[in-house]
Symmetry: D2
């Protein structure tokens, strides 16, 4: 069986060449020790564990027709509506256990987009991309590797074409074509967990036009390739984790908030067998759109559902800890969260249940375009509302919470215990920890992250406007009113 | 085949004894001629037509295991998730063609509730209700009859039990038990299209307790039974229809807005073979809840989706008629409507796709309880929002529209044509008619109707609060924080 | 004193020449008898009564510096912030007593716009408009006349200039200039209560540019001038009122919903002394904007506050009538309405309290531009929400209500009394009437009317975008961050 | 003149005895050096500067009738509606310059509550509290001191009375009465900036009943009194500030996010002349309510308006820096923020303009109760919305931002400059700094802080429900419908 253990995963990562990872003005010496980069490795390890755990194996693995073996679901391309439903449920399962990004999902969604589009290019253009891609995918599956996905780019002035930007590298670009491969330069930004993946899949972020062939580009690269540099995010939450003596002082102890980096490609060489799109400008937008609808189902209809479960659970615990079980307004707020969660779930399931083979004949199943975008657009509003509701239930203490260290310092311990225990029968430590978890959700980066993960709301709106034509609806009206059509 | 024609339906209705139907202070002489009651008959006729039309027959009929024949879907009790999905899609199909209530849906949902609960009562209590019910259902199917459903009651002070109300008949009550049947007195209010059904199914509206056996009551009655009186609603829309010279002056020409009546049972006799629940107080609430979740999926996730299609179509037409295709804010508003519609659709589909056999072994499939209630709660907010958006797009003319007669009157015709044609290439009449359709949707009874059809929002909230227990969510949090469970 | 009685007002109207008023395909023989046009006359009569009633005289009159006499507030141009606050309070006072449009408010707001802009034109262009206007205003005040205001026009394709429309009369246009006056042709649409005013003030609806001088036009005309035709709205509510035997069967018995007409100017002659703007294209937009901000304060911050008072009162009564005083969710909904009402009131008061003399030196006070537009934009959302909340509290009976005639018909009376009295101690008639009043508010034209009265939301958004420049806010940020300005 | 300089303020603070201040498990050695406690001192210093700065002196000072001298507005009790308006404007002025809490506002609002209520107690009960209070206030003014306010308490199970809590000190309590003063024990939580004030005013948090005399307590204490301990909040933002090498790496460089502490009173002695309420249980609720309405006007209608100015300014700058000035959806989002800001401002101004003397004869002016609560309730929703909108405009970079140190590190500098400069003409550093400011607002503690500062929304709802009686509204309806009152 191709399923490796969490420890084997970590070991295989350590076998890589040293990566250039920078954070907070310094090079990260060891991403396995750095408390912030470590969280990504922990999250990925969990995904290996679930695949082996008998309780979750059915959901978190699948049978690959390429390897005829059981593989991790995060390497499996959907071949039916049932697969899409399972993918949705796996997303929720992961999210509610991690409380952060499952860093393998952009890579999986990039695999879907590539599977469909390389098939289509070969079909239309007689290229050989799908064959290359299939070999690559089989190799990933056989070795049970983590693959990241990278689309977002700095880009220059949106009113101008790439060719007119002062710096041509604001989008990743081919700078040299060789007999054995290509050399690329540019950067991908906001990339989740890149340094903890074995491989990185790079896709275009936007439509390309004639003349922009050097930007019409998709490829895979090992994360330790020469020329790659990772510049990590650094936020208040990063600082707090660096300062912590014990991760259980933190709001999401093991897995943290989402960790990203800018990935710089400074003349990185990519061999041809890992190049899946190079110059066919008409197909760049297809790669983007297919990634988008798959990823929007995931971000909109599955992982936020899992996050909401954690938030709802924490709010309920605090209600009980504080003896507020008679407070009707808290019941109402919990119920509002439940309704928002179920609505998110419904949209995710509908995206999957209305999914279809695309392109026909490819064997690849993708979610419904309209519903995938609707899922994401809805969840953005919903998540901010859930944050706000949780912020109300959690109370001012979310902001004013002392450190859990103050509960250990003998000079302050008795005061913290007396006055922040609220006379409850539950240990004060539990109250503080659950409140800290809510701080993580309501006073951190999740709101903005929800807006922009899988593209900002405007991106969904543009796509919806493109998909809907209103002819069906107009005809219903004309018939009802006896207006004849010309 | 058991499928009769629309004309046969109308003829069979005319074969009934004369009904006591009152409207606007007078007895309705002929419900087939009265312009308001007529709309219900037209809507029901459409449902017969769809079952025969090859284009819609697959969706609008099903194969009955009771008759081994193709029957109208409005008489078919779901036996699988696929059936529930088909039921949802049929609801949207009907709604977008009628633009009003499909009056057969409460009856169908009552059939579902009775099928499940009579099976359960027989199973637990060794009663004979399910056998009676099955015979009754087979008879309905063989004769292709319209059956209405009736739950809502006046009820007295909610803080008191029925036994303490000054008037015992504020809920339908058995007043006499005879060897061949029972005699009942009371009233059902807000009943959609009752007088145009062949049969009426009466279910309790609320839980019953020991001592309230005479209120624990479900039965069927022909609509022309002695002792029945129908007192119809009368609204501005009723008056307008009475005043119209041509139904095409109206906003929904053929089918109107939803028509209801109060149905008074003044000592109506019901033979035992049509009594399906009588005194088993513990089962009243089951009849209510099973009806509710089925009906909430329908009202929340299917028919409003169809209505929104009409509204969206009309808004789009007006945008085009008025040359506003460059107005981005109208595109944005249309898209917001589309998102609300798709969200409604997603919840309806999820209710069906998560449905299950209930009770186990009964063969009856009902939608998911939580999702059914979520559907309804969401659509209430969504529908008001869609009305508001359509009101903005439709413009002030929705309010200030002259009669279409002013377009025929030679003294005003040229002014109306000149000044309400807005210089458009479309005939002024089309602009006025589409605006009139939007008046029907945005300046009429649909907002309030959406709140209260299938129960007001508070009813859904109570049910959701009853269904959710939060244990799963609390445990996720405790595990994440390393808090041990006791 | 210049204050006449309601009866004198009605008598003076009757002294006019016969008007060409059309409704529902026929000429209205007598606007004093027609049940729909009559409601406007009743509303105007109330405004005369309030001015004489000692309890309201302080609020509803003012001292005119032109006549040195006490005049009706609806003829008084504000000269201070205190005046603007009084104007706001008067708006609420009128609205909560009428439950419909006070038809004198567009005229009053047109007077404000003309007072400021004719002063400015004279000041800059050495015209004589302000002098003419002042004479006209003095005459109105001395004779205590009702003056209506008319801005909205059909207009053609918004992407084209007026000069390029197929029909030049889609905006009111000068067709001839004579020594003694001008002749105009065109139409004003959506005009509230025009036929029940003595005079009509006509203002441009939009900015004019060079070449469009014939459209840059403001004037006054008596409502019985030759060439005027009134084509009235006709809605379900119109039909209902025509059918009623007793106005107390209706939801707003005396005053109805808002009545409008299209006013056609088919070669109407206007003498020069009543022309206040003619060809000075740069000043058209000023007339529009000054009218807009004054009217938006009124519609946004004052009259809807009064309407909400009626809705809130009716909801509270129904809660009490039905014995639901323990229902916390109804208390919550009432409170939400109160918050929306107070927010509306706050914006109206802020518009007034931040108002200023405009142009400086003119003596005319106008509300704050930004806040006036904010008032209107907020109230649109708020009013739909209040309608929805009231629709929930009012219950399904809002839709399914029988006629009050059914309470008089001996065949149905006892059933209606028994079953729609809900066992309450209050007469069933009261329950039905209060529910009817809520039907008037929640299932009628008020939602759409609120959007479009004083211009649709987009008009406010455009104005706000024009007013705000963000320089102040940007500088705050630059200072906080130590970023030096260039 | 009683106005001292910022430096004199800092010096006077340093003259205090050493305070027991704890943060992150350790004692804070020097609150003037600790980077987090330092921010509070900087904010207070700004308030001294504004009082001396000729540009702001008019707004930020007032003439005291007690000292006949110009004093800081933060020590001035309002004596007219104009004073209340000035207080509102000062709140906005401070907030938009600090971008955080002006720590002097709770103390000022406590002064208002005490001024009114001590006057009332003396008037009704012949106590001597107002005289004591007046002497105390004069002393504060003469010495130009910072006074903090402290109300919130841990409190035990809300379903039980204080007397039944397991720990009697969950609310501050008199433990001994002596001839020269009282001894108190308990804690106040969530107290903003306490350690940087000279004095602390302690008020009850809730109504007290007979038997709870020892909790009916208001007094003043120097912040260096024996028995006081301060346990500070510690959040991700605290850690980040500790880790920073340069405050200009931070989102609000000089003033940070709001800093609070729990203040423990472990047998603190208070001399009688600083006790302003002791045992008069009926007056505790008056102190609470008067503080609440004053503070809710401030939090709801003034300081959030200032914060929104900063957020709006930063969003506008980013729009310009990124060349997105043609993006209509960003203009729309900016406008929505402006509307929310102006609505907040309107409610604050209305609270002031509708304020009145309370109690009559006291000379103290307080804001309108209903409007004060409405202000706060509205701004909570508005602020979350503004955060969300800013999060959309600011982009994913808000989350994924590297440290500004990465812009100095030569190994990463060129990549950060190239790829996060987006080809803009503005220095990359400016883009990063403005984005960092938005991180501070959208991904930090401001949402939850807005809910709970001045009491959670439920507290406002309870108060509104208490204030409104609906009689006026009910009578309007009865008159309109011709229903006679009994």
């Amino acid at each position: 069986m191709a399923l490796i253990t969490p420890e084997q995963y970590e070991k295989s990562l350590k076998a890589r060449k040293e990566l250039n990872v920078y954070m907070n003005g310094r090079k990260v010496k060891d991403i396995f020790e750095n408390p912030n980069t470590r969280t990504v490795i922990e999250a990925n390890k969990a995904s290996y564990l679930w695949a082996l755990d008998p309780e979750s194996q059915d959901l978190m693995t699948a049978l690959s027709p390429l390897t005829n073996d059981r593989i991790n679901r995060y390497l499996y391309v959907c071949r039916s509506r049932e697969d899409l439903v399972a993918k949705a449920m796996a997303g929720t399962f992961a999210a509610e256990r991690l409380g952060t990004c499952i860093y393998r999902c952009p890579g999986l969604d990039a695999l879907h987009s590539l599977a469909a589009t390389t098939w289509e290019m070969d079909h239309h253009l007689k290229t050989d991309y799908h064959h290359r891609f299939t070999n690559y995918l089989r190799w990933l599956q056989k070795n049970d590797l983590v693959v990241g996905g990278a689309l977002t780019e700095p880009r220059g002035d949106r009113k101008k074409r790439a060719l007119d930007w002062p710096d041509p590298f604001l989008s990743v670009k081919v700078v040299e074509k060789k007999s054995d491969g290509i050399v690329v330069r540019g950067a991908k930004i906001n990339i989740s967990g890149a340094y903890a993946a074995h491989e990185l899949l790079v896709l275009p972020q936007s439509a390309k036009r004639k003349g922009e062939e050097d930007y019409a580009l998709a490829f895979a690269t090992p994360t330790d390739a020469e020329g790659l540099t990772y510049i990590c995010q650094y936020s208040p939450y990063s600082a707090e984790r660096e300062m912590a003596e014990d991760i259980y002082e933190l709001g999401n102890p093991l897995f943290g908030q989402r960790e990203t980096s800018m990935v710089v490609f400074d003349n990185v060489f990519v061999p041809w067998e890992r190049v899946f799109h190079c110059g066919e400008v008409d197909y760049s937008i297809k790669l983007v759109e297919r990634f988008a609808k798959t990823h929007r189902m995931t971000c909109g209809g599955t992982c936020k559902v899992g996050f909401m479960n954690l938030i709802i659970g924490a709010c309920k615990l605090l209600q009980e800890y504080k003896g507020l079980d008679k407070a009707q307004h808290i019941h109402d707020e919990l119920m509002e969260m439940v309704v928002l969660r179920e609505t998110g779930r419904a949209c995710g399931l509908a995206s999957a249940n209305l999914g279809k083979e695309e392109p026909e004949g490819s064997g690849v199943y993708l979610p419904d375009e309209l519903m995938g975008n609707v899922s994401k657009l809805n969840i953005c509003q919903a998540f901010w509302r859930v944050m706000a509701l949780a912020g109300d239930i959690g109370g001012g203490l979310i902001v004013t919470l002392p450190s859990l260290k103050d509960l250990k310092n003998p000079e302050t311990k008795r005061y913290v215990e007396e006055f922040l225990g609220f006379g409850s029968e539950v240990p004060t430590e539990h109250i503080l920890k659950v409140t800290k978890l809510l701080q993580n959700w309501t006073a951190g980066q999740h709101g903005v992250g929800t807006w922009h993960g899988a593209g900002p709301p405007m991106a969904q709106k543009i796509m919806i406007q493109r998909v809907v034509d209103y002819e069906y609806e107009k005809n219903l009206v004309k018939k009802a009113l006896g207006i004849l059509k010309k």
